[in-house]
C-alpha cells in the first residue's frame, strides 16, 4: 500500500476519533432530548467521514458514496423520528429533559 495513503489515514483518523469523543460527550452530558440527537448526529458525521476516507484510500469511492447515501437516508429518518419523540415528550410533559420522563409507564 502507498505509504502516503497510510499517512492520510492516520491523520484523518485522529480527527474522526476527536469527532466521536465530541458526540459521545454531548450525548452523555446533555439533559435535553434535542441535544442528545445533535450528539448522535455528530457521531454519524464521524462515521460518514471514515467511510469516505476508506473508499478514497482503497480506490473504491463509488462504493463508499453508495454506502454514504444509504447512511444519509437512514440518518434523516432517525432524525425525523427522534424529533417527533422529542415533540411528543414536550406535549405530554411540557419538558424535554430525559430525567423528567419518569412518569412513562409500559
Amino acid at each position: 500500500m502507498n505509504p502516503y495513503a497510510v499517512h492520510l489515514f492516520g491523520v484523518f483518523s485522529i480527527f474522526v476519533i476527536l469527532l466521536l469523543i465530541t458526540g459521545v460527550y454531548c450525548m452523555l452530558l446533555s439533559f435535553n432530548l434535542i441535544r442528545v440527537v445533535i450528539g448522535f448526529e455528530i457521531l454519524i458525521k464521524a462515521a460518514t467521514l471514515l467511510i469516505i476516507l476508506a473508499g478514497y484510500i482503497c480506490g473504491r469511492t463509488a462504493l463508499a458514496q453508495c454506502i454514504v447515501i444509504t447512511l444519509i437516508v437512514i440518518e434523516i429518518v432517525v432524525m425525523v423520528v427522534a424529533g417527533g419523540v422529542a415533540l411528543w415528550a414536550f406535549r405530554h410533559n411540557k419538558n424535554i429533559d430525559p430525567r423528567k420522563l419518569g412518569n412513562l409507564k409500559g
Binding site: V6, I38, I74
Partner: protein, 166 residues
C-alpha cells in the same frame, strides 16, 4: 494527490464547528453549528473524490435536517432570561472539560497515528464504476432498503402524532 495543508485546515474547522455545536447555550445556534459542520464535511468529501455524496451531505444534512430541527425547536417554549443564565452556568460546569479532553486526546493520538506503524491491506486497483451506475445496477437492494426505511419513518411519525379516539 491531495493537498494536505488545506485538508488539515478543513479538519480543524470541522472539529471547531462540532465543538461550538456542543458547547453553545442556545439551541438555535447549536443547530446552525451542526449545519456548518455538515457543510465543512461536504467540502472534505468533495476533496476526497466523492462529489455525489458531498452534494447529498450538503443538501440533506446541512439543509433539510437543520429545517427539521428548527421546526422541532419552534414548537417548544422560549427560555426566559433567568433560565438562560442558569443554563449557561450549568452547561459551563459540565462542558468546560471537553476542549481540554479534545486537546489531550488529539496530542496523544497524534503521537501514534500521525505516522502510523500499521499497514493497510493491499488491494488490487478496482475497476471503478460511476457511483450512479453502481447504485442503480449493483446496489439496487440498498435503494429498496432506503424506501422501506423512509416508509417506516413516516409510519413512526404518524403513530407518534395520532390523536387519541374520544
Amino acid at each position: 494527490m491531495v493537498n494536505m495543508s488545506l485538508d488539515l485546515i478543513l479538519l480543524f474547522a470541522l472539529i471547531l464547528a462540532a465543538l461550538w455545536t456542543v458547547m453553545t447555550v442556545r439551541l438555535i445556534r447549536s443547530i446552525v453549528g451542526l449545519a456548518l459542520t455538515s457543510a465543512i464535511l461536504s467540502v472534505i468529501m468533495y476533496r476526497l473524490h466523492s462529489p455525489l455524496a458531498a452534494v447529498f451531505e450538503l443538501s440533506v444534512c446541512s439543509g433539510l435536517i437543520s429545517v427539521i430541527f428548527i421546526t422541532t425547536v419552534s414548537f417548544t417554549q422560549r427560555i426566559s432570561k433567568e433560565g438562560l443564565d442558569t443554563r449557561r452556568k450549568e452547561r459551563f460546569v459540565r462542558f468546560w472539560y471537553l476542549p481540554f479532553i479534545l486537546i489531550v486526546a488529539g496530542l496523544l493520538l497524534s503521537r501514534y497515528l500521525w505516522t502510523p506503524q500499521f499497514s493497510l491491506p493491499a488491494l488490487e486497483p478496482a475497476k471503478e464504476l460511476d457511483a450512479r451506475n453502481l447504485l442503480w445496477h449493483f446496489r439496487h437492494l440498498d435503494l429498496l432498503g432506503q424506501v422501506v426505511v423512509l416508509l417506516a419513518g413516516a409510519l413512526g411519525v404518524v403513530v407518534l402524532f395520532k390523536e387519541p379516539k374520544k
